[in-house]
């Protein structure tokens, strides 16, 4: 046994760090994912895939990882997380545009600070609310921020602000880079932030604080009875969640080099971030990042291949909700097991076909009944 493996119940687990134990399959998948992540610039160079879109997808996915802290553990649905993504992006843009700050790191830190302050304020005001009230309040704050920016000359209305201090790109690692080098270096900065923040999130959710959030999500009254300061913990979780959005937004500003209200602050963007978490798998740590890449790719590029690209996005959502309720990443183990069983027992495929045919038959029967009732009445 090496210090990176552990045997339990006759199964060997990989233990890259203390407290994190992965099956061999999970470890292999994780390694493949990491290699793919690091190889994105090269992969996109030799394939038609878009480097910029994948980078954007990872950033929105990072915001979705933050949102997932609320969604998965406190079971609170926020419809306003674009507020923090947008605050991070605008924080960086304001420093670059109005104060000519040229350091990319300073711009990012500025954006994160702005987003965190906004999250602190909004979190304090919404922490005591539940369910639809919480969702609508977050949405309302998001819209207030959007409207404020949209109507403000300081933020240049809907034309937005360039993130180009003195007309040039921000410095990365103190270097003034060519466009190509800038995009690659920024990508690896994003990857570094992503890995660190995924690890930090894993530590948070597996800490006593994370367990307390689970308790709050399951039953607030019981959580309060066992001494958990519910509102304060929700407030802290909300702020952490907003900080993730701020980092993502700040990096997004450095990537796009221009920030406008609609792409980063409009309430639909909040819906998209929520959708990313669901699409990738709410019950997973990395799922929202996968969801981010998949959804951003659909939203940005489907229009180049499909006329009714909005419908395509809707169909993907329907497929995920009905067929993959645990999301793309969350459903991988079940899909893998199912495929293995069908390889062993091909007869199951016939059963699958029968089940699908039966579902279609039942659906068609219900549709006919409904039409008959609509046309001829109940009798």
């Amino acid at each position: 046994m090496s210090r990176f493996t552990v045997d339990r119940d006759g199964e060997t687990y990989v233990r890259p760090i203390e407290g994190l134990e992965l099956t061999r399959r999970q470890a292999a998948l994780g390694l493949v994912g990491l290699v793919l992540l690091l190889a994105v610039p090269d992969i996109t160079r030799v394939t038609p895939l878009s480097f910029s879109i994948i980078h954007q997808g990872i950033l929105f996915g990072l915001a979705a990882v933050g949102l997932n802290l609320l969604l998965r553990h406190t079971e609170l649905v926020s419809f306003g997380h674009a507020a923090f993504f947008g605050a991070g992006a605008y924080g960086a843009a304001v420093l670059a545009h109005h104060y000519a700050v040229s350091s990319g790191l300073v711009l990012l830190v500025g954006g994160v600070l702005v987003a965190t302050v906004v999250a602190l304020v909004v979190g304090y005001l919404v922490a005591g609310y539940l369910d639809i009230y919480f969702a609508l309040l977050t949405l309302a704050f998001n819209q207030v921020l959007f409207a404020f920016v949209l109507q403000s000359r300081y933020f240049n209305f809907n034309d937005g602000l360039a993130v180009r201090p003195e007309g040039t790109r921000p410095l990365l690692l103190g270097l003034e880079l060519s466009p190509g080098a800038y995009s690659v270096i920024l990508y690896y900065v994003t990857v570094a932030f992503l890995l660190v923040m995924l690890f930090a999130m894993w530590k948070i959710v597996n800490s006593p604080f994370g367990r307390a959030l689970d308790a709050i999500g399951q039953d607030r009254t019981r959580a309060r009875f066992i001494g958990i300061p519910v509102e304060r913990y929700v407030w802290i979780a909300f702020t952490i969640s907003g900080l993730y959005g701020g980092v993502a937004g700040g990096l997004f500003a450095l990537l796009q080099l221009h920030v406008r209200p609609e792409p980063v602050l409009f309430v639909f963007v909040s819906g998209e971030i929520l959708f990313m978490a669901i699409l990738g798998g709410v019950g997973t740590l990395v799922g929202p990042v996968v969801g981010g890449v998949v959804l951003i790719y659909l939203l940005r590029l489907a229009r180049f291949y499909v006329e009714y690209y909005h419908a395509l996005t809707g169909i993907v959502l329907l497929v995920v909700v009905f067929l993959l309720p645990k999301g793309v990443l969350g459903s991988l183990p079940e899909i893998g097991d199912g495929l293995a069983r069908r390889r062993r027992e091909p007869g199951l495929l016939r059963e699958d076909a029968g089940s699908v045919a039966e579902s279609i038959r039942d659906g068609a029967g219900r549709a006919v009944s409904t039409v008959r009732i609509v046309v001829f009445g109940v009798k």
């Binding site: 949209l150 080099l257 939203l299």
Partner: protein, 440 residues
Amino acid sequence: MTGGSSPDGLNRRDALRVFGGSALALALAGCAELLGGDDDVGDAEEGDVPDEPIEAGLQTFREGAPAVLGVQAEYGAETAVGRINDNGGVAGREIELDVVEEGDEHLENYQQFVDEGKDVTFGPISSGGHEAMVPEIDDRGVINVATDGTVTTLYEEDFPDTTYSFRFQNHDVMEALAAAVEAVEILGADEIDTYAGINPNYAFGQDEMEIFSLGIQQLADAEEVYSGFPDLGADDMSTHVTNVNSEEPDVVFTSCWGGDATLLLQQAQASDMLENTELVVGPVLYGSANDYEEGDLEGPIHGGSRNFYWDQPATDQWTPAADLFDEVREEYDVIPTAHFMSGYGAVTAWATAADKAVRILGRWPEQDELAAMLEEHGFFTPAGYHTMATDHQGYSNAHFGELAWSDELDAAVLEDVNVYAPEEVSPPPGTTSRDWIEGW
């Protein structure tokens, strides 16, 4: 090049000389018949020119309220591409045009076009999107000719040194100042003491109102009594109409467009706003020509039509516009507006410059050579003569006239159209619009 005669008896060589030396320029000016059906494109086909078609991309609004403008731009670009391909292409290369919805993804659309290997891109409509694109265009080095995105400061102040980014349509200062000059022409400077504005609440509306205010204050020493900014796509403007009614200004300026323009005029009619003001001027009111009903246009309403009005010069004097009008009505069942010309002219600017470059170089030009060729490039469209200046801004005549209803067309028309030359409504090179107006 042959020197045959057209059916009209015009010498082919003379015709080509007049219209820029190429059959393509002639076709895009709407004068292809002068060639007498001869498809020979002359020297442009000679030299080292690739065989494959030109890959072009256009991003424009195809859905939602902005589609009133965007779809017209698409029709215009398609019409220009059709005429180019029907006349043998650019130096023998046909154009394949891909069109995508611009949405809020202007940068991504441009990047994707470039990644797909597009030779040229066109669009967008949005001024904010255009502003975000310009540095990226210079980074990627593939020419973009914007159809609209007409914010005044873009090339004057924000990006005075751009290399690959161009804009065909007149910028905001030209139409907002044309509105101010039109108001003075109609009412007289001494009769304008007060003015009000109802403009869409985003950068374009703010930009237009600011320039109109500067202009009308300089021309008539008028005082602003009300300025309202309804949201883009608002479903009610009655508050603003009521405020105008209570102030009774001499002139009301509005840069509302698309469905907003229609709604404003409907609510203005319902509240008798036209009886409480001497004149309404709107630089983009004619952009909604296909949406108005007869009752919307009663009263002193003067609309702008940017760099193209289909009946100016009068179609009986200027057949290219008449032919274009008939072609568009037949093909798309709409009246071509200035936004149609945005698409048509953007394609024409690039295609005629590329055609000229091939004739000069004897080969297909590199992007930087073509960008240099586009600077100070002049060309005809059915709207007349246009120039793409050193500042990368297109300059054309600006049109303004009284909105009226045509029973014959069953659509809105402009009457008593005034045409303003670029030098009347835009600053000389090297001067910003604001400095120029304030120095009057």
